[in-house]
Symmetry: C2
Subunit: 334 residues, 2 copies
């Protein structure tokens, strides 16, 4: 029999096949990458992207020319644009506003052949430092309320270019999924005066069944209420609500763990497409005792169908206990 499991923060229930959980070999992994003739993210093709907002490049090199190690550029096909007023207004029953916001692309390396998991630790530190730097910079814009950092890797995970990159969208509203987490976390805090994420960390460490890897500052595990097979959470071990305030030592620990987890996932699932997102507190107000930033990593193995759309909860054919064991035990090449 399956189990219904409830997330204590969002109240989301998922149906999890704990009885006969599917192993990694049971999934048809979609390895397709988006195709295209000229890659606009390769060195030498800087004129194919909008002008760079930020780059790591030698002092002797010019902006928007080759020689860089990392570039941040506006998305050429942005979901939201930075110019203009919000112009929030009613239309009968409905509310609408102009699509104001930022939509940036972090090109993680000039090397087209590397996946994020192949970047060196110093290269990955530059990527996470760019996430932090861009997040802090956008706080100057008072129209923006929330910054989401995310990555789509592989065609079935929604990537439109193969060259490794992440994205940042800054929004004029706090998105629904984050509000739900905040509300649930506040509710828990009112009752217990503790951060629910800190409590969850303690429980995962104690239960010991769903752990994948850890180091001094971070823990990686498969969440008890996983919506998707082989879903992975990475949380800072000490309370911290704001990703953008991450210290340089913590960046070093985060990228070590992230690289290890990406390699473990690639090994167990034979190079799947995936998404990750970083959930952090809204830009204002600061300093949440009840919220804890975290990274959610989801290999794309299942399809979202009518049931998920109709209910808002998920049928997960694999238990997080089985997934964590496979991820923990896989041998990585030395």
């Amino acid at each position: 029999m399956s189990e219904l499991r409830r997330d204590p923060i969002t109240g989301r229930w998922n149906i999890i096949n704990t009885d006969e959980p599917m192993g990694p070999e049971a999934f048809e992994v979609d390895r397709r990458q988006p195709s295209g003739t000229t890659c606009p993210f390769c060195a030498g093709k800087e004129q194919l992207t909008p002008p760079e907002i930020y780059a790591i490049r030698p002092a002797t090199s010019h902006a928007n020319t080759a020689g860089w190690q990392l570039r941040v550029v506006p998305n050429k096909f942005p979901a939201l644009r930075i110019e203009g007023d919000l112009g929030r207004r009613a239309l009968g029953l409905f509310d609408l506003s102009n699509g104001v916001g930022a939509h940036e692309v972090i090109i993680e390396t000039p090397d087209h052949r590397k996946q994020m998991a192949d970047l060196s630790l110093p290269e990955l530190e530059q990527v996470v430092a760019a996430f932090k730097g861009r997040s802090l910079d956008l706080r100057g814009d008072r129209r923006l309320k929330y910054t989401l950092i995310f990555k789509n890797f592989g065609l079935s995970a929604g990537a439109s270019l193969e060259h490794t990159h992440s994205q940042l969208i800054a929004l004029p509203i706090v998105p629904k999924r984050v509000s739900e987490e905040l509300k649930g976390a506040e509710h828990y805090f009112e009752f217990r005066e503790r951060c629910p994420f800190c409590d969850m960390l303690q429980q995962e460490l104690h239960d010991d069944e769903r752990l994948i890897a850890e180091n001094k500052s971070f823990l990686a595990f498969c969440p008890f209420v996983s919506s998707f097979p082989f879903e992975i959470s990475i949380l800072p071990k000490t309370h911290s609500s704001d990703f953008a305030l991450i210290a340089p030592e913590a960046i070093r620990d985060l990228v070590r763990l992230l690289k290890e987890v990406l390699l473990r996932m690639r090994s167990v699932l034979s190079d799947p497409s995936y998404n990750f997102i970083i959930h952090t507190a809204p830009i204002e107000p600061r300093g949440w005792d009840e919220y804890h930033w975290h990274l959610e990593l989801i290999p794309k193995l299942t399809k979202i169908a009518g049931f998920e759309w109709g209910t808002g909860f998920y049928i997960n054919p694999t238990s997080p206990e089985l997934a964590a064991k496979a991820l923990r035990e896989t041998q990585l090449p030395v």
Copy 2:
């Protein structure tokens, strides 16, 4: 520039490309069907499914043999099972219960070659009458709180068999997406003492930009806050919270409109994969003045990626105004 549009019921914001909305030809339509050697839903293969719960068949034919026009059987790989106790319990922070519920399959016709859109009106009436009949029957089970009827058509929409079928899942909890709609609708009702869905119908009829088709009892339109391109809603024109109380005349009107809309969608989008769901009020309490049952139909044209997962809202590259115009104006073969 895009628009941010807010659903007055759920509070969900979506980003909609109203500036350069993508037309139907811009989408890569995935027409793949699940493959398999022996179809368990074909006439003569009744022994390949669990024993039937309900069937339309001549009085002279035996259960689980050929001769039927429609069969309802338990799902062979159920997400939930009807036997056992809920056994709701805590596990530290978390809640869990046993996966108790019903998971049934409605095999709409013995003819493997027909899509739902190809069924005759009398055949479609039998399908909707089966949705109603099964919903009412399961109300006898006091453990069950909610019944969701849905359909997955095509591989990319999550179908695992090609032979046309719908599904019913009865759940021991009211699912999150429905609770959100109920809460939002109650909030609106407190403020205005009117059903928000009834008001939305009036506004859609008045705005006239997003209508697809209508008849005496039902209206089909592309919702103002569409999450997906070419998303379609069908609502009863007079207030009704409970799908399972649909009258026989209304079934006739519903299937006429549903067939027309499926044919229009197939024509405009060249036979896309799709999902539909029926949202109705929970089994108890009955008689919601503030809730209105409805059918949501979504062709599978886009991928859910990091942004959607992280925010809970959607980037829709097509405006519902463009989608409705294309659906309304396409010529159907006579």
